[in-house]
């Protein structure tokens, strides 16, 4: 089978020429499409008996994680290794950061070992941008505070596209702790840019005022719903977010139980969605809080597909950033 896309676009060149991947906001539709198309080709590599291609032989990728992570860190590590790059993981609990080293010193020391890419996750927004100015290695934002988590949004978009064929025209509900969610922010940018209509829902205390400006600029492609049922009705995709208790210093809602009753996704609530509606969650899932166990395990749930696709999307990103010399 010959894919139509490969015939129409230039056979040797792709519209992607960046040093870093810091956020979705700065990406054009063409760049996003390039990443998703490339990821489609990379997905097959993970299905081979020998899950490795030599594309990044001799390149070094450092995973620098200042926050807990299972999925993202493992996903980046596997992506690098399946491209034959050397991957090094640094978590702050075991690094010199716990001895008081500053971010700048850590970055300069890592740079001195000439890595080709650094994947960084940090609790403060803007740290990847700062790092990108300090080092010549490609910086990939693996999540910075409540700001952005671009690779998650890209793998979500990839999963939606894989199941729905396209993203333009879809009704997509994003429900839960919008305020603390970099996943929500990156997805709102990405999905509206690709032509979807996004409805966000959650307790008003967990929807930051900054979204008012996003809505103003969205030309109707982004709306806020007060009730989860309003957001779900007729949706093609429902994306649930985790309640990030570790980031909450104040009381945003009375109790987890009440949150679960008001905003938890159940099979019954899904009845009003489109008949082929898919359910997504970036993980980790709190079963019985934002999403009921039977929804997680239902045929509509693509939560594990998201994880599988995450490796392919991160392979594509690593390849596009450090696979060949920039022009």
């Amino acid at each position: 089978m010959i894919r139509a896309g490969s015939c129409t676009r230039s056979a040797t060149e792709m519209p992607f020429n960046r040093k870093d991947l810091l956020g979705i906001r700065e990406l054009s539709v063409e760049e996003i499409t390039t990443i998703l198309d490339t990821a489609e080709s990379f997905k097959e590599v993970s299905a081979r008996s020998i899950k490795k291609v030599p594309a990044l032989r001799g390149k070094t990728v450092i995973n620098l994680f200042f926050e807990a992570s299972t999925r993202t860190r493992t996903s980046f590590e596997l992506a690098a290794k399946r491209l034959s790059a050397d991957a090094v993981n640094i978590s702050t609990s075991t690094s010199s950061v716990s001895k008081g080293e500053s971010l700048i010193d850590t970055a300069q020391n890592l740079q001195a070992m000439s890595p080709d890419a650094i994947v960084i996750r940090h609790p403060s927004p803007g740290v990847p941008q700062q790092l990108s100015r300090l080092v010549s290695a490609s910086i990939i934002n693996g999540g910075d505070g409540a700001h952005e988590h671009p690779t998650q949004a890209l793998l979500d978009a990839f999963t939606i596209r894989e199941h729905k064929g396209q993203i333009g025209g879809l009704q997509i509900a994003i429900v839960g702790d919008i305020m603390h969610s970099r996943v929500a922010r990156s997805n709102v940018h990405l999905l509206t840019r690709l032509g979807a209509h996004v409805r966000i829902a959650g307790p008003r205390t967990l929807i930051p005022v900054a979204y008012d400006r996003l809505i103003e600029n969205s030309e109707g492609s982004l709306t806020i719903c007060d009730h989860i049922d309003e957001a779900i009705a007729g949706s093609d995709v429902v994306m649930m977010l985790r309640i990030q208790r570790e980031r909450m210093s104040d009381a945003f809602f009375p109790s987890l139980k009440e949150y679960s009753i008001q905003y938890g996704l159940t099979l019954r609530r899904l009845e009003t969605a489109a008949s082929d509606c898919i359910v997504m969650h970036p993980g980790p899932v709190n079963r019985g809080v934002e999403i009921s166990s039977d929804v997680v395990d239902s045929a509509r749930s693509l939560i594990l597909d998201q994880v599988t696709n995450g490796v392919a999307v991160r392979m594509a990103i690593l390849f596009l950033l450090i696979g060949s010399e920039a022009q």
């Binding site: 089978m1 010959i2 894919r3 490969s6 015939c7 676009r9 230039s10 056979a11 040797t12 060149e13 792709m14 992607f16 020429n17 390039t34 490339t38 489609e40 080709s41 990379f42 097959e44 590599v45 081979r48 008996s49 020998i50 490795k52 291609v53 030599p54 594309a55 491209l83 594509a316 390849f319 596009l320 696979g323 060949s324 010399e325 022009q327």
Partner: protein, 179 residues
Amino acid sequence: MKLKTHVMDAAGINRALSRLASQIVERNVGTSDLLLVGIRRRGVPLAERIADKIEQFEGVRPPTGQLDITLYRDDLSTIGPRPVVNKTDIPADVTDSTIVLVDDVLYTGRTVRAAMDELVDFGRPRRVELAVLIDRGHRELPIQADYVGKDVQTTDNEIVKVMLKDYDEDEQVIVVETD
């Protein structure tokens, strides 16, 4: 670029592919365990056409696959613009099969080297053979084709253009000279 010679027209391509197909089944005594793998891009439609012809001769169509060798290129870090990575698709078990790699032009041999490296990541074929429409010489690696549509004498500043209606407006093989 200026046109130097016409090598084949559409009928010529068709005749060459017929000959390659009959040579492949003759040498392999039929089609059992045969797998045709086209190297992207133009090797892919050529592999499909050869499979069609083998079906006409033998009544059985061997399975076909396609390889995108981009990730296995030896010049990946220096080729400049980000290359497009397309899908590789090997539909049958490679282990113990006889694979015929199909490409349009055999030149330096580097593409074939990359294709063989990629192929063995799918398993251990019993034998790998190479079929090309045009062999233009100038090898940089010790690689030979088992089946050749036509040998064409060329110089370094010439380009052999294989045009197939799957991708191009015309269907022909020409040699052009670069400036």
